[in-house]
């Protein structure tokens, strides 16, 4: 399953490269804009498979950006965009996006599926780490309002040992939750306010 929308990448990469010329300058508006192109002006993604990054915990964003730069996580496009990005800029990006406000993913709420997801999440105690409102903390991402298709894909990646570069705790956390329950979980989290 392909997550990123392909069309704009050439333009974005060009933007990024022009920004890289001033590698010593603070993270530029141009660089932040290149994130916004796909992840939304306010960090809330309008593209189906692209994750929202607004209000994600700062440490989670830092870790994600480092691991993606290292080629361990994220899409090929994200790895290319972040290649060589210094830690200093990663820290600044993480601070910026963690300070934005999250909104629920767009689309109608399927009440039955939503309630089913809520029950599975409660039973699986997702809230022990991601917090009872699923807003995330420290290295553990916000689930509330995240894009549904993205959540589903990530759970499948964990289940199928395709998700690399993270702590293995999450693989263990998904043990025993059947794949058939992932869609309900993804729907529930994505529509949370």
């Amino acid at each position: 399953m392909r997550l990123q929308v392909g069309g704009r990448w050439a333009v974005l990469t060009a933007l990024f490269i022009s920004a890289s010329v001033h590698a010593q300058a603070p993270p530029s508006v141009a660089r932040l804009k290149s994130c916004a192109e796909c992840h939304g002006e306010d960090g809330n993604s309008l593209n189906a498979g692209t994750p929202s990054i607004a209000a994600q915990p700062r440490i989670f964003l830092e870790n994600y950006l480092v691991l993606t730069r290292e080629g361990l996580r994220g899409s090929d496009e994200m790895q290319r965009l972040l290649k060589g990005l210094p830690d200093r800029d990663i820290v600044a990006f993480a601070r910026h996006f963690s300070s934005l406000k999250a909104v629920p993913a767009p689309g109608a709420v399927d009440r039955v599926l939503f309630e089913r997801g809520r029950a599975i999440a409660a039973r699986s105690r997702c809230g022990s780490c991601h917090l009872p409102d699923y807003s995330g903390r420290e290295q553990m991402p916000r689930l509330a309002g995240q894009r549904e298709e993205f959540l589903l894909e990530v759970m499948l990646q964990y289940r199928q040992n395709r998700r690399r570069g993270g702590d293995t705790m999450m693989s263990a956390a998904l043990h025993g939750i059947p794949e058939s329950e992932f869609p309900a979980l993804a729907h529930f989290f994505s529509r949370l306010k």
């Binding site: 399953m1 189906a48 440490i59 830092e62 870790n63 480092v66 691991l67 290292e70 080629g71 361990l72 830690d87 990663i90 820290v91 399927d110 039955v112 599926l113 089913r116 039973r123 699986s124 105690r125 022990s128 780490c129 917090l131 009872p132 903390r137 420290e138 290295q139 553990m140 298709e149 589903l152 040992n161 690399r164 570069g165 993270g166 702590d167 293995t168 705790m169 693989s171 263990a172 956390a173 998904l174 043990h175 025993g176 939750i177 059947p178 794949e179 058939s180 329950e181 992932f182 869609p183 309900a184 729907h187």
Partner: protein, 412 residues
């Protein structure tokens, strides 16, 4: 009804509608990770402590907060090794290799006249560790084994892919590996239990040893939940290893362990029997003699302490009372209300494991007053001059602890 709802929501994801059709399956048991989390702790928000994945300059390391016994001092020996943990060196101690977990890197450190510099030797691996053995550098990731030949003066070139012969099982959780070369010139490799508490298949919860070419695999210890540190006793050559106790049984235990393997094949109790005979409340239910035939630890090492690296001190720089002791790094707890560990301790015991006494050695990484911490000591190594290296996984640094007798020097 449920099937219909699921199919509707998955309209854009046809691939998943088939799986949705099974969503009326009867409820499954709780995830293994949560197994053993009692109802009383269901709302607990204890969670693993986040690591730091960006570089920390040496100038920002608050080493002045470290507390050591009189006459000892610590200095930053290397920094910028983000996520660095287990260390291995060539015989001359002119090169060191430091592995990581999530960072996926092996660092190569060049040691010259007491100064260090480093580079990334290899990256993009799944939780790699390194061990120098017989002139070669072995890199063990969870899913891969690589061997760099003629590595004593720096590893270079394409490694030999040894993955096929080592036959590593696929589970990731608790399967980062600490690997050590034994006095028998074999590689000692642990395979942790891929859960907090569960019945394990025959590939996990054990320590194995292999010949250097990956042949001759033997399981030498079973019932080992998650050992990530060991050393061989300087007098007996026996394997001593640390092991992490299970989670979600409350703040006080079961405690982590320091174990001694006195003969191959011993069973150390997991998942039925923990610490010094704590019967597991979940998987050992109704099981008689859960601890029968189990080799109990030399000593317990504290609740949720996260005991890591173990190093018998064989140098002479430190005072006599430290010579022959085991130094153990306790990276520190997460599954506990008040943090515990975050220190280096010594363990004094007879060679047959009797009379063990645990004494704090390096403390101050954690402040019990506000439950905060700045560093997490993970692994230990001894330099030829008798000083002791401590890796701090949190700050990606290695500290060197040395001793000089307070003047006037005591006769000792």
């Amino acid at each position: 009804m449920k099937i219909k709802a699921c199919a509707l929501s998955s309209a854009a994801l046809l691939a998943f509608t088939v799986q949705c059709a099974f969503s009326q399956d009867k409820p499954k048991p709780p995830p293994a990770w949560h197994q053993g989390k009692p109802a009383a702790m269901a709302e607990s928000k204890l969670a693993p402590v986040p690591g730091k994945m960006t570089e920390t300059p040496a100038s920002e390391i608050p080493l002045d907060k470290l507390k050591l016994p009189k006459g000892f001092k610590a200095e930053v020996w290397a920094s910028g090794l983000v996520g660095g943990r287990a260390m291995t060196m060539n015989e001359e101690q002119t090169r060191m290799w430091v592995g990581t977990r999530a960072m996926g890197r092996i660092y190569e450190v060049t040691i010259e006249g007491g100064k260090t510099s480093h580079k990334v030797l290899v990256d993009k691996l799944l939780q790699p560790t390194a061990v120098f053995a017989n002139g070669a550098l072995y890199v063990f990731a969870i899913d891969k084994v690589l061997r760099y030949d003629n590595a004593a003066n720096g590893a270079a070139g394409q490694p030999v892919d040894m993955t096929a012969v080592f036959r590593l099982p696929p589970e990731q959780h608790h399967n980062w590996k600490y690997v050590r070369l034994g006095p028998d010139k074999k590689l000692y490799v642990p395979f942790g239990a891929p859960c907090n508490i569960c019945e394990v298949s025959k590939e996990y919860a054990q320590i194995r040893r292999y010949n250097l070419d990956g042949s001759g695999m033997e399981v030498i210890a079973t019932g080992v939940r998650n050992t990530v540190g060991f050393d061989f006793h300087p007098k007996t050559g026996e394997l001593w290893f640390t092991d992490h106790g299970r989670d979600w049984m409350g703040d006080e235990g079961p405690e982590d362990e320091l174990n001694r393997l006195s003969k191959p094949g011993q069973n150390f109790g997991f998942p039925y029997c923990h610490a010094k005979g704590v019967v597991d409340p979940d998987v050992a239910k109704g099981k008689k003699d859960a601890c029968k035939g189990v080799t109990l630890p030399v000593t317990t090492m504290g609740p949720h302490a996260a005991v890591m690296g173990l190093q018998f001190y064989t140098g002479t720089m430190f005072p006599k009372e430290y010579q022959g002791l085991a130094f153990v790094a306790r990276k520190g707890s997460w599954n506990r209300t008040n943090k515990f560990g975050y220190d280096v301790v010594t363990v004094k015991a007879s060679p047959d494991g009797k009379g063990a006494k645990v004494t704090p050695f390096a403390t101050g990484f954690m402040d019990p007053k506000d439950n905060s911490f700045w560093g997490r000591p993970a692994y230990l190594a001894q330099l030829k001059d008798g000083s002791l290296l401590v890796s701090d996984e949190q700050l990606g640094a290695i500290y060197r602890i040395s001793y000089s007798a307070p003047a006037p020097a005591k006769k000792n």
